[in-house]
Amino acid sequence: MITSILVVIFLAVIIGIVLGISAIKFKVEGDPIIEKIDSILPQTQCGQCGFPGCKPYATAIANGEADINQCPPGGDEGIHKLADLLGVEYKPLNAEHGEPKPKSVAIIDEKTCIGCTLCIQACPVDAILGSAKHMHTIIEKECTGCELCLPPCPVDCIDMVAIEENAENWKWKYPVYKIDKVSERRAS
């Protein structure tokens, strides 16, 4: 009886010492996983996930404070990639954070704009040009379509315009065949 207790205590002490030493020796600092997560996120900086930008969301995911299904612009694909990276199960997009929309850019109606600069302050990527009392324009190439400039505008002069398909950005479509039910299912 006593020997058995002694043996177990002895084991516990030895193991405790070994693990204690290695805990100090293999201490981990920083978390490179945040960068990996951040590179999957679409960088719209739209804040729909409930965090003030993509990086904060990435940090939250890495710390286990946020789920992977809170990013509507990233869409299903983004969630799949996050799930793959983190080795967790895929979950469908959380509707609380909004629905995925077609990629669009903000366009300022330059006739209505009063040049209040509120939108400039709201834009997370500095994609709006203009100064006080001069009408503003949006650098279309830089616009992420985050819609953050819409609420502050006092005269509702900003519109989100979906990017149209043209000969330049046109893509080949997924082949669909009548006989092959499976490909139809996948395409839909």
């Binding site: 669909v176 006989i179 039910k181």
Partner: protein, 329 residues
């Protein structure tokens, strides 16, 4: 509407043609089989075919896939034929039915049907039968016991219990059991049961059909040639090391399902590798395992297990044997 894209012209091969030619190539072996062993095998093939078609039809219906196209692609038939040719011709009807159902439903359609099955369906069916009903699956027809269609039909319906002497061990089985009693192999090989020339003639028939397949470019040379070559080399090597323990290569090449496997079973494209190097390794692996199981293992014939095991390795083999792309180093 389909989205029409290039190429707008097409060659003339089709899956159903390929499978049809495979079945055609099985005919010589089948005829020789029937010549020596009666019509038992034919009953099995017909039953297997019918079972396969019916199973396929119902599964396609359940999966809501157009039935006509997939029933006429002949793949289910090829599976049924190969399975029926692998099991003893004196097996009762329900053996054939169970095996075929396993092959079509589990090995094929669980995985998504033609093209998606990772295991050779016929071999899955065979292996399941072998481990479930070893007594029936290891008794082969005694070729000296010639009988008429009535008996064949009775055996088919009720099994062999009413007929003494109808069954005997295969040469592989016989030699193995004799060897277990620490006998020298040379006298054993001269026993009539070890020299089943009828079986060897059937193998020859499959060889003919296989050459036809090679000739019509349905299969490439890699699989059968490497398979037979490896089996030849290993058996010769062991025979050289100890002729009193290991049978010479003729014994291994001509007995069991060697020829059927070489040209028809391991050449199943869906569950096999696609790269030339991969095919070589695949065939080598199967031959090696077949020899090991035959000589050292617990089962008299190892083709089904070897094929399934090699099937498991296929994705990895394909992955590791990707050929160089044009211009890449």
């Amino acid at each position: 509407m389909i989205n029409l894209q290039s190429p707008f012209v097409q060659g003339s091969t089709s899956v159903s043609n390929i499978m049809f030619i495979v079945m055609l190539a099985l005919i010589p072996g089948l005829i020789i089989y029937m010549y020596f062993f009666g019509i038992g095998i034919l009953l099995n093939i017909i039953l297997a075919s019918i079972t396969a078609i019916i199973a396929e039809y119902f599964i396609l219906k359940i999966r809501k896939i157009p039935t006509k196209v997939f029933l006429t692609d002949n793949t289910a038939l090829v599976t049924a034929w190969l399975l029926a040719l692998s099991i003893p011709s004196i097996a009762p009807w329900w053996i054939t039915v169970i095996g075929t159902l396993f092959a079509i439903i589990i090995a094929k359609h669980f995985y998504g049907g033609i093209g998606s099955n990772i295991f050779n369906p016929a071999m899955i069916g065979y292996a399941i039968l072998l481990i479930s009903f070893p007594a029936i699956m290891t008794k082969w027809q005694n070729p000296s016991y010639l009988y008429d269609a009535n008996i064949a039909f009775s055996v088919f319906m009720h099994g062999i219990d009413n007929y003494d002497g109808i069954a005997s061990a295969t040469p592989l089985d016989y030699v193995k059991t004799e060897l277990l009693q620490n006998k020298n192999i040379l006298p054993i090989l001269n026993e009539p049961l070890a020299r089943l020339t009828q079986m060897q003639w059937v193998g020859f028939g499959f060889l003919l059909g296989g050459i036809f397949l090679l000739f019509t470019k349905i299969i490439t040379w890699h699989l059968p040639v490497i398979y037979l070559l490896t089996l030849f080399t290993i058996s010769s090597l062991f025979h050289l090391i100890d002729p009193s323990q290991f049978a010479p290569f003729q014994f291994h090449l001509l007995n069991g399902g060697t020829m059927l496997a070489a040209f028809f079973i391991i050449t199943d494209p869906v569950s096999g590798p696609t790269t030339p190097k991969g095919k070589i390794f695949f065939a080598f692996l199967i031959a090696l395992l077949v020899y090991l199981i035959r000589v050292f293992g617990g089962y008299p014939e190892g083709i089904a297990f070897a094929v399934i095991f090699a099937n498991i390795c296929v994705p990895l083999i394909d992955n590791l044997t990707q050929p160089k792309v044009f211009g890449h180093d």
